[in-house]
Amino acid sequence: MTRVKVILFAGLACLLASAASAQLSVVVRDISPDQSNNSDPDGASGGRVNNVTIDRSNPARVYAASEFGGIFRSTDGGLTWSHLNGHVPTVTWDVKVDPTNSNKVYATSFYDGRANSRSGINVSTDGGNTWTHPATATPPVSFCQSDVRRNEPAAFGIAIDPANPSHVFVGTNCGLAISTDAGVTWRFADPTPTDRADNIGDVVVHHGGIIDVCGDDGHLRSTDGGTTWTTATSQPLQSGRCSIAASPDESYVLFAVVGTSIFETDDGGQTWPISYANPAPQGRIPFVETNKRSGRNFDLWFGDVGVFRGTCTTPSPAVPGGTQRCTASTAWGGSFTRSNGAHDDSGSMAFVPGATSNACPAFFSSDGGVFRNTLTSSPACHTPAWTQPNVTPHALWEYSFEGVSRPGATPEDLYLGNQDNGSFGTGSGGGATVTWNNERCCDGFDTAGDATRALTTVCCFGGRATRLFISGAGLTGASPEIGTYPPGNMRSFEELEALLTFSANAYAVTSTSGVFVTSNITASPIVWTQLGASSSPANACGLALSTTGGTPTFFVKSGGCDGDRAGTLWRYQGTSTTGTWQQVPTPAGASGFGIYAVDAHDPQRLIASQLGGAPGPHMVLTRNGGATWNVLSALDTLMTAGGVFLYQNQTGPTAFTSFSGYPQPTLVAFDPSDPDLVVAGGADSGVFISANGGTRWQLVTDPIAPGTSGIPHIPRPYFAHFDHDGPAGEIKLSLGTRGRGPWRLTFKKVLMPEIQVPSPPSFDASCAGDQQHGALKVCNTSGGDLVISSITSSNPEFTIVVPSGGFPVTISHDFCFPFEVLFTGTTPGTRTTDLTITSNDPNMPVLHVAASASVGQPTAVTVVADSGNFGEFCPAPNRFKDLAVTINNRGTCPLLVTALSSSSPDFQAPHVLTFPIKIAPGDNIELPVRFQPTTSGAKSASLSITTNDPAGAVKVVALSGTVPPDYVCAPPSFTSIDAAIGPTFGSARTGGYTVNTSGHLLRSFGPNRRFGVQAQAEYMFYPGRQEGEVDTTLLYRHGLWQVGVGGTFKDANVRSEASAGSLSEVAVSVDALLSTIRFGAFASKGLKESDVVGAASVLGAPTPAGQPLIVTEQVLHTVDAAGGTVQLSLVPNLWWLDANAAFLNRHAPGASNTAGAALRVSRQLLPWLVGNVAVDVNESFIRSSAIGTVTVGLSVGRWPRPQDLSNPANPLGSLVPRLHYEVFDRVR
């Protein structure tokens, strides 16, 4: 049977849109043998099938779970089998059908290598065509014994509750999965919750829902649907891989096989005291099944190497305990395998469904696939007569695959060495129908051949287990065992090759003792020569050959002989025994190599998978014998399907149901006839072909969705053979796999282009809006034409100029095409784009090139003196203060000032006739900002400068200034002219009335107008006297306090005297200026204290010297004073009072000191006119007795008064009284 699929791939499904011109058009053909023609049933063609099951509702429909090939289905009662591509996991364990629903199928599998795994539990609702991995079929976090069990799931036995088929139970690597809705949703139960969940290998549900499981925790039983569990109290069931079955009659009688040991419990698992000797132990995957027979009898079927039927009887009455239910195994029937038409090494048995008793065993699965029982009637059927199907499952596990090209399209010698199923050969490997000869049974390992013969190694025999046979081409004719073996044992159970031919009759073989060659395999005895015995690598396997100039160079790998563990590579040139094995350098950091291949004609050219070490797994290629290794990144990407699969997993299934983990790479091979062609393969990720020597690759199978694409998935390819005998350049690539048998891929070589972009386009620095040109250089470094179908930019600032010829653009080998890219930046900064180049490059159909350009920008910097503080400023009409704001552009593009505004009318931005103001990079301008306040107080504003600076379109300059209060900016100006008249009193007065007039001036000055100068002039008239006085006082005020220092000049004319006199004094004062009253203190001291204003002379009494003339002078003399003053308001703003009183220190001889005082009451008549009444005593002229005046007067102008006391800063004048004086006589 052959199935053909024509595929056209550019990688995964997403890559299908690529231009097709560079793609290989591949015809995929399954060329597995449909049957074995070997009379020994241990020669077979199905590969191992772990479990087989019959659809109860449609018994013609049968399912098989194969070891490495996925799920198979027969719809004709098991005569022909076909692969179910919709079930993606390929390493499968069990399959079961809902007994009430043919469409509902459950399957279990081991880890599928996916980062997001779909293995473990899969459910089909359409009879196996399509499958889903329910989301709830993943255990909870931290539930499993190790987290990797959750990430790399595996599942084992399936049980459907016969009493309630929607209840499904699955043993997994993380406890028991339970569904109560026919597989729609799942929950996980851990029967030993004191530790994390581990392996449950098998489960049986029986007698109304009793659940019994076995596995790493031994046996456990639940009678409540998996909520609680019981286990043995003593004599427990051992742990491990297991199968479990229940007696059809007694719920407490169970049978289990763990490892190779068979046990029975008769108390529901509380103890397992009964064991049966295994008639033929091996432990591949043993099983136990029970089958109800008539009456109280049932059969116990047990399978290991063979299948046996034990006769069992249920006691009467049926009670727990008692004797073992079955006869000793020495009395069991069987073995019913090899001698009954079926391959040894059991998998499972399926009985005809529906019968309540005496159901015939219908199918048996084993290492040979599926076998049908040709006996269909009881009781004869219970001694089965098996036969192989017409078309077995195609699930061969190959240990070797060799091809010998022969002239013509059809003749092609292909050889298979299969685990379990022996050696196959054909001479029609290129034909539409491939006829295979299953020459030998059992375990076939290595094969090698030439045009006339084929060598195969087969296991297992007594004595030398693995033996080497020589057959005719295509494994025809006689096939004698060789007569002379090289030292050591022939290598076995390894994927890497151990046998090859290097010239006519000359063969090389690796044994457990080294590498040996013979120049004549037909000689008797055969002469074997060891290559480089003294330097022979340990555990050499993986034999490969490259021949140049007739000299062979042999390569071997030391260790890791399945290709999934790291080992070292070694080379040996020639066949001399005295040569030396030389190690091929390992890539830096790697632990070693996994798989490898060498160019048949260039020993310097190798391709390999590197494993371990810091770099992790990679595909690498060397052209200089390993001196340098190049990472094949395109192939790396395909090996994981872009991350769909892990490059290296931890617990992936390995040989014989081990879970040791594996790397993806399983295959690399050079085409001996065309150095451009290279094939590679991944365990889960499929088959890849390179047509340019290894730098560009194409996925030619479908590992993702083969069920929907119709393109087969070929898992675990290990071997390849190229043949170029097809018509019109047709190439046949035959592949050997582990688990899916041999395949043929037919295609024509299409040179693959290889896109390279040496560098992204570059652009000069620009400013927003400027247009820059860049060149995107796209090169083709490989043989096929590179067709660029489009280039797009993710950023519209970058545009691709469509070439004059438009797209697509074809670039020939070793040419580059400079696509023009325009950049028009709109926003300053580094602008980036993803240039997406779509081409027919098979590995980079979409190439992303990151490009960038720099857009400059203006950067505004503002500078203002004094931090924008205008200081104190007293406004006045047309008075203002300007401050310069400097705007600097320290960017790389012109700075545009587009607006200026002030937040306060006190600060005025300059008026600009036309915006914008343009400032070149590096330049600056000064803008005058005017401070023209109208009111007092602290002023502030923000000057907003609007620019095109992207970092901040509006620059804000803080402005501030202060307008001092009025007493600073407009201090009061005190000026008045006073006049008063009134009578005098006192006996010593110099006239009956007085008239006086005065002028007063007070001005403040200095900081905050705290200083003041006061000047006064006064004229007083008395009928007997006239006085003129001028005084000046310097004042300083600090808060409430005012001090003054002044001087007074007075000219007095006392008419009674001969002449007028003048005097002066100095005075100091201190005032406390309260809000409604002021107090003051003063003191004055004469400066020019006296002046002679008259004289008289008389003759004195005569003396001996004569009569003296006595002269008496009239002296005008100052009177020093000290006293206090007060000014207070009587009626606010209307009446007030000024008063002073002084102590007067007289100088007249014999005169007593006296006192003086003055009191004046004033009333504001008009703001500029004040009337007053005053009375004073001894205010100016001091006589022997007090004299005074009472006056009324007017004051025109303004002079400090109580309402001025609200002025907090300005001096308010001194109230020091007039200069006091007196007249007296003195003798000169």
Partner: protein, 203 residues
């Protein structure tokens, strides 16, 4: 068979199986009385493989190490100087239940293996029919500088059975054991060509 056991008896003196039948309860109780102390600084790793010389024969290679600090604590100068034994169980919590086999670490080869000795007339379960066929001790240099690592190869594991292993060391102050490590015995199939049989181990 009897002659075989006699042949190996000189070397295989103390391979002991605990609690394989009710008759061994006294021995189990005795063992339980000396509850071992787990020495967490000890490391133990298991590698399972199929015999390269015997078909259908499942083997395990055990590697363990004892840090020098732990050695001094038990009064042994080197790891090889310690009184060690290899213990295995195939039962859930088998060590705690004394469902185990124990054999002393000593000189062993494939031709002169250390084998278990059944208690009384009880046959050994298949899973416990182990043979210690190789013991590698650290060299003198390793002994001088560090505790080193020891390796032992155990033959004839029951395929598919989950073994839990540990190393036990008897010291004057009591028994210490390594942390346990579990592994499933490899299945080593061999399809025998018609008319031939699996070669038997030489007796």
């Amino acid at each position: 068979m009897r002659s075989c056991w006699l042949q190996f008896g000189i070397l295989a003196v103390a391979f002991t199986v605990f609690d394989l039948s009710p008759q061994t309860t006294a021995l189990a109780e005795q063992a339980a009385q000396r509850a071992p102390q787990v020495e967490s600084r000890m490391t133990l790793s298991i590698e399972t493989f199929c015999s390269e010389t015997k078909l259908r024969t499942s083997n395990a290679r055990l590697r363990w190490s004892i840090p020098q600090t732990a050695l001094s604590g038990i009064g042994a100068a080197t790891v090889s100087a310690a009184r060690q034994s290899l213990e295995a169980t195939v039962y859930k919590n088998g060590f705690e239940k004394n469902l185990l086999v124990s054999l002393p670490i000593g000189a062993a080869t494939a031709d002169r293996p250390i084998v278990p000795q059944a208690q009384g007339r009880q046959p050994l379960p298949r899973a416990f029919q182990l043979r210690l066929i190789d013991v590698q001790q650290p060299g003198a240099t390793a002994e001088a500088t560090a505790a080193g690592e020891m390796t032992a190869v155990v033959e004839n594991l029951e395929p598919g059975v989950t073994y839990t292993w540990r190393i036990a060391i008897d010291t004057p102050s009591g028994r210490i054991v390594s942390p346990s490590a579990a592994s499933e015995a490899r299945v080593c199939p061999a399809d025998m060509v018609q008319g031939t049989a699996v070669p038997r181990r030489k007796k």
